[in-house]
C-alpha cells in the first residue's frame, strides 16, 4: 500500500480517537455540571427546610487551597521605610518591636505583622483612594479593591483596605490610611510579615459538607441567622514567635453576622 494512503488511514483513525476523547470529556463535564447544580438545589432546599435562605449562586464550587508559612522579613520592613520615609536605621524596642525615625516621619513594626507609619507630610492631591493604592503598590502589598471603604472623622479622612495573597483576601490583615487636615498622614494595620511560602494543599471538606456542618454549629450555638449572603475563601494569618502561617478558612456572611469556618473540620472559629 502506498505511504500516502497509510497516512490517510492513520489520520482518520487519530481524528476519530480525538473526537471520541473530546466527546467523553464534554459528556463528563456536562455530567459534573448537572451534578453540581443538582447538589446545590438540594442544599438550598435543605437550608430552606431549616429556616435559612441561601442562593445557589452564592455556593462556591469545589476549590483547593494551599497552606503557607511565613518568616518575618526584617529587610522587607527596612525596604518599606526606605521607599516611604527615606533612609532610617531600625531601633530595637525589645520584644522584636523595631522603631524607625527620620525627618519625614516615624514607624514601628511588630512581630505579628502590625505596623504604623507616620508621615510628617503626605502628598494627597490624587485623593485618598489613589494615594493609598499608590503607596501599597510602591511597597508591594496587594489588596482587595472591592473590599475597601472610606470614612471621615472631622477634618481627617481614612481609607481601609484588606490585604490579599494570590487574590485571596487575608481576613485579619487590614490597612488604614488616614490623612489629617494639616497634611500629615498615617498608614497602619496588619500586613503579612514576610513572603508566604507554599507548603502544599490543605485537606478540605467538600463544600456541601462544610455548609451542613456550619448549619449544625449555628443551631447548636443558638446563633441568629436566616439568610446566608456570601460564602468565600479567605486566609487568616496566625503569628507565632518565630514564624507565621496563612490558614485558609471559609468566611460566611449572614444577616446575623460574619462567621469563619475551618476548611478541614467545618468548625466555627472564634477569630
Amino acid at each position: 500500500m502506498e505511504a500516502g494512503k497509510i497516512k490517510n488511514i492513520i489520520i482518520i483513525i487519530l481524528a476519530a480517537l480525538n473526537l471520541s476523547f473530546l466527546a467523553v470529556i464534554v459528556l463528563d463535564l456536562n455530567e459534573t455540571r448537572y451534578a453540581e447544580i443538582r447538589e446545590k438545589t438540594e442544599l438550598v432546599s435543605f437550608f430552606d427546610a431549616n429556616g435559612i435562605y441561601i442562593d445557589a449562586d452564592v455556593i462556591p464550587g469545589e476549590v483547593t487551597a494551599g497552606n503557607f508559612y511565613l518568616t518575618r522579613d526584617l529587610s522587607q520592613e527596612k525596604n518599606i521605610i526606605n521607599v516611604l520615609l527615606g533612609q532610617a536605621e531600625p531601633q530595637d524596642q525589645g520584644g522584636n518591636i523595631f522603631y524607625y525615625e527620620n525627618e519625614n516621619g516615624s514607624a514601628f513594626f511588630r512581630n505579628n505583622g502590625e505596623f504604623e507609619i507616620n508621615f510628617a507630610h503626605l502628598d494627597d492631591t490624587e485623593g485618598a483612594q489613589k494615594t493609598a493604592a499608590s503607596l501599597l503598590k510602591k511597597i508591594n502589598i496587594s489588596y482587595d479593591d472591592t473590599d475597601s471603604y472610606t470614612e471621615e472623622h472631622g477634618d481627617s479622612r481614612s481609607i481601609s483596605m484588606l490585604c490579599t495573597w494570590q487574590n485571596v483576601p487575608i481576613a485579619n490583615c487590614r490597612l488604614t490610611l488616614t490623612i489629617f487636615a494639616g497634611g500629615s498622614a498615617q498608614l497602619a494595620g496588619k500586613r503579612p510579615v514576610g513572603t508566604p511560602q507554599r507548603m502544599g494543599d490543605c485537606d478540605m471538606l467538600g463544600i456541601n459538607t462544610m455548609l451542613i456542618r456550619f448549619l449544625d454549629e449555628i443551631k447548636s450555638g443558638g446563633y441568629v441567622c436566616d439568610r446566608i449572603e456570601d460564602v468565600d475563601l479567605c486566609y487568616i494569618m496566625r503569628s507565632f514567635p518565630s514564624e507565621a502561617s496563612l490558614e485558609p478558612v471559609w468566611q460566611i456572611v449572614t444577616n446575623g453576622g460574619t462567621y469563619r469556618v475551618s476548611v478541614g473540620s467545618g468548625e466555627l472559629l472564634n477569630d
Binding site: F21, Q93, G94, G95, N111, E114, F240, P241, S242, D271
Partner: protein, 432 residues
C-alpha cells in the same frame, strides 16, 4: 511532485499533532487512572496531565511544628479573662498546647519590651487578674530573660528576676502591664503591647467556666489559692514502648552518640542491662529503656564550650536530649523540671515527660544531665515513647480534687499525673 512532497510533509505533521493531542485528551479522561492502577509507572503521566503539583513545587523546608519556640518548659496552666471577668482555662489537655501557641507571640513581645520592674502587692495582682488578662503558670521558677529568649524575642531591659507566674493585664486606662510573681515577690512592668492586640487575642477564647480555688464558693478554703478548677471533656490512658530496639541497638547507639564502640567491648549484665564500652565513655541500656552514658574524658555534647550558667545548662541539656529523641517521639513532650547542686559540687538538670500538660510519673524522671566543671559528666534518659490510648472515664472532677487536696494538706494543690498501672499509664490526681 513538489506539491506531493508538501502534502506528505503536512500529513506527517498532522499525524504527530493528532497523536500528541489524543494522548493529552486521554490524560484528561480516566483512561490513565485505570491503566496506572495496573501499571504504577504510568501514574506519573496521569499526574502530569491532571495538573497535579509536581514534587518540587512545594517550596521551602518549614520549621517542624512545635519548634516555633525552643522552650525547654511549657506552662502547666493558662487562664484568659475577658472584660466581664469570665475565664477560659486550659490545663491537662490538648487545649493547653494550642492556647500556648496562640499567646506566645504577645507574651514574648510584652516581656521583651518591658520596662524596669516595680514591686507591687498581692491585692494589686488580684485586681489585675480580675480584668482583661492573660495568665500563665509554670511548674518551676524561670528567669524572665530565659523565658523571653525561648520566645525568640529581644529584651529591652534585661532583669535578673525569676518567677513562676506571669500575666498581661489591661488597666483602667487601657494600658497593658506585664506582671510576674515568684519567690522574690510580685512585680509589674510597663510594656509596648497595644491594648487592641491583647483585647483581640482575648476575644478568641470563649469562657469555659474555669476559676481559681480562691474564687470557689466553698470547699477549697485550704486549697492552694491559684489551683485552677476546670473540667476537661475527656481524659485518656497512655501506652508506652521503648524507642531503642535491642536487635539494632549497636547501630542506633553509634548513630546517636557517634560512639567509637570497641569491637567486642559490650556485654550483658545479670539484670539484662546491655553495656557498651567506648573510648570516651560507658553506655548502659536497661530493659525498661533507660539509657545512661558516663563520660570518661571530655564530652562532645557542649561542642568544646564550657557551660556554667543555669540558662546554658538547661538549654544545652534540652537541645541534646531533644536531638537524641528526634523522630522517635510519641505524644509526650520533654519539659525542664528543676536544677540542683550535686554532692560533688556540680549540677543536675532534670526533665520530665508530659502529655497534654500531664506529668508522667517515673522513679528517676524522664532525663537528667549532670554537669561537672562546665562539661557533661553523666547523662540519663528514658528512651520510651508514650501515645494516647483509649478514653478514661474514672477521673475525679476538678472541684472535688481541689477540695480533697485542701483536705489532705493545707495549701495543697491537686495535680493530675500519669502513673503506671499494669501495661498502661492512667491519669489520677495527687496532692502537691
Amino acid at each position: 511532485m513538489f506539491r506531493n512532497k508538501r502534502r506528505e510533509r503536512f500529513k506527517t505533521v498532522l499525524i504527530v499533532v493528532l497523536a500528541v493531542s489524543s494522548v493529552f485528551l486521554a490524560g484528561k479522561t480516566d483512561i490513565f487512572a485505570r491503566l496506572s492502577e495496573s501499571a504504577p509507572a504510568l501514574s506519573y503521566f496521569r499526574g502530569l496531565f491532571a495538573g497535579e503539583m509536581s514534587p518540587g513545587e512545594a517550596s521551602g523546608s518549614r520549621p517542624a511544628e512545635g519548634s516555633s519556640s525552643t522552650a525547654a518548659e511549657s506552662p502547666c496552666t493558662i487562664v484568659i479573662t475577658n472584660d466581664n471577668g469570665m475565664r477560659y482555662g486550659a490545663q491537662y489537655s490538648r487545649e493547653l498546647t494550642d492556647t500556648y501557641k496562640k499567646i506566645s507571640n504577645i507574651i514574648g513581645e510584652a516581656f521583651g519590651s518591658s520596662g524596669l520592674p516595680e514591686e507591687s502587692t498581692e491585692k494589686a495582682w488580684l485586681n489585675a487578674l480580675s480584668r482583661r488578662s492573660v495568665y500563665m503558670e509554670y511548674r518551676t521558677e524561670l528567669p524572665i530573660a530565659l523565658l523571653v529568649k525561648w520566645f525568640g524575642m529581644s529584651m529591652l531591659n534585661r532583669n535578673e528576676k525569676s518567677a513562676s507566674r506571669f500575666m498581661l493585664s489591661v488597666d483602667e486606662n487601657d494600658f497593658v502591664w506585664a506582671w510576674f510573681s515568684g519567690e522574690e515577690g510580685i512585680f509589674k512592668s510597663s510594656t509596648a503591647v497595644q491594648e487592641s492586640s491583647l483585647t483581640q487575642l482575648i476575644s478568641e477564647f470563649l469562657p469555659n467556666g474555669a476559676y481559681f480555688a480562691f474564687e470557689a464558693q466553698r470547699g477549697c478554703e485550704r486549697t492552694e489559692p491559684y489551683a485552677l478548677i476546670v473540667d476537661n471533656p475527656e481524659y485518656f490512658a497512655l501506652n508506652s514502648e521503648n524507642i531503642i530496639h535491642f536487635d539494632s541497638v549497636r547501630e542506633q547507639i553509634e548513630q546517636l552518640f557517634g560512639l567509637n564502640i570497641l569491637e567486642g567491648a559490650s556485654y550483658t549484665e545479670k539484670n539484662g542491662t546491655v553495656v557498651f564500652v567506648g573510648t570516651d565513655g560507658i553506655l548502659k541500656l536497661r530493659e525498661d529503656g533507660v539509657l545512661s552514658y558516663a563520660v570518661s574524658g571530655k564530652s562532645d555534647f557542649t561542642e568544646g564550650k564550657l557551660v556554667y550558667s543555669a540558662d546554658e545548662m538547661i538549654e544545652t541539656s534540652y537541645a541534646m536530649i531533644s536531638k537524641m529523641r528526634s523522630g522517635r517521639e510519641g505524644d509526650e513532650i520533654l519539659s525542664f523540671s528543676g536544677i540542683e547542686r550535686t554532692e560533688s559540687g556540680g549540677y543536675q538538670v532534670k526533665f520530665d515527660y508530659y502529655v497534654n500538660g500531664t506529668e508522667i510519673i517515673m522513679p528517676d524522671g524522664a532525663a537528667s544531665v549532670f554537669f561537672e566543671n562546665g562539661d557533661v559528666s553523666l547523662l540519663r534518659v528514658c528512651m520510651r515513647k508514650y501515645e494516647l490510648g483509649e478514653e478514661c472515664s474514672s477521673v475525679l472532677p476538678a472541684l472535688q480534687a481541689a477540695a480533697m487536696a485542701g483536705g489532705l494538706k493545707r495549701g495543697g494543690r491537686p495535680c493530675l499525673v500519669y502513673a503506671e498501672s499494669g501495661a498502661q499509664y492512667l491519669p489520677s490526681w495527687t496532692v502537691e
